[in-house]
């Protein structure tokens, strides 16, 4: 438990780690498996030789081995929550033209992720940010609060 984020070697491990690290009910963790593999937050994940670096807060970066237990839980929770945010492909909708993170234009077929506040970003761009902070970059709405309240109203 103490080193549950150490040396993540394959993306599937993230789910089992999540199950250990947080007391999320069994139900929700099995449903997260059906949602497919978690997004790739870190380029380093597939390089077992170097430990991945995580960002407990936007300006704090730490190798996995130096995270406090509290930070490990926070990051494991983020990994789990990101999987519950819907993804899709950009369909050319006129309302959203550019990704506010990379400032690049969306092109049809680009993988995108939808936040509960209805802002969309390239999946790769937003996942990188959500691993640092669970807020929408455009409206600062906390992403997890919206997720939790949508569960409650279901």
């Amino acid at each position: 438990m103490g080193n549950c984020l150490k040396a993540v070697s394959s993306s599937n491990d993230d789910i089992s780690l999540l199950r250990e690290a947080t007391s999320i009910p069994r139900e929700s963790s099995s449903s997260s498996e059906q949602l497919g593999p978690p997004p790739s937050y870190q380029e380093t994940v597939n390089q077992p030789s170097s430990l991945p670096v995580y960002y407990p807060s936007p300006n704090v970066s730490r190798p996995a081995s130096q995270l406090t237990e509290e930070e490990q839980i926070k990051i494991a929770q983020r990994m789990g929550l990101i999987q519950h945010l819907p993804t899709g492909e950009f369909d050319g909708s006129k309302k959203n033209k550019e990704c506010a993170i990379c400032m690049g234009d969306f092109t049809i077929g680009d993988p995108i992720r939808f936040l509960p506040c209805m802002h969309i970003y390239h999946t790769e761009c937003i996942d990188d940010w959500l691993m640092r902070s669970f807020t929408c970059p455009s409206c600062m709405e906390p992403v997890d609060a919206a997720l939790l309240s949508s569960y409650q109203t279901d």
Binding site: Y55, P58, N59, I101, M103, D128, P137, M140
Partner: protein, 151 residues
């Protein structure tokens, strides 16, 4: 790294095409790989800083825009303002914990212009001399506590 430079390139074009009022960027002041910029700023008319000229230094880490830029006033004229230390460091929450990757050089400049414009009395922060003696060269290493939201 490549996507960071693409974004900075876009930002540079945008700020040159439609700069906020009083803001300009001299292409000669853009450092290698776009990682360092110097932005010129004029005090807005009708404010305490009218007619003054300032320079802001922007430094971008390879993790920009996930990581906030390091922004300080440089040069001979550091604005006298309750949130600006005499070494050029700026106490502004969007430059640290309230940073978001949807912010940009333009939005940072606008925030700084508005911070200066709403100032009612030119004075240094109350802890200026202690801070300047003890702080790190990089303002991002400072644990800021925000005195007030009024200015």
């Amino acid at each position: 790294m490549a996507s960071m430079q693409k974004r900075l390139q876009k930002e540079l074009i945008a700020i040159q095409k439609e700069p906020p009022p009083g803001v300009s960027v001299n292409p000669a002041n853009i450092g290698p790989n776009l990682t360092q910029w110097i932005v010129d700023m004029e005090g807005a008319s009708g404010t305490l800083y009218e007619g003054e000229h300032f320079q802001l230094s922007f430094k971008f880490s390879p993790k920009y825009p996930f990581d906030s830029p390091e922004v300080t006033f440089i040069g001979s004229n550091i604005p006298i303002h309750p949130h600006v230390y005499s070494n050029g460091h700026i106490c502004l929450s969007i430059l640290s914990e309230d940073w978001s990757p949807a912010l940009s050089v333009i939005s940072v400049c606008l925030s700084i212009i508005s911070m200066l414009s709403s100032c009612k009395e030119k004075k240094r922060p109350p802890d200026n001399s202690l801070y300047v003696k003890t702080c790190s060269k990089n303002p991002k290493k400072t644990k800021w506590w925000y005195h007030d939201d009024n200015v």
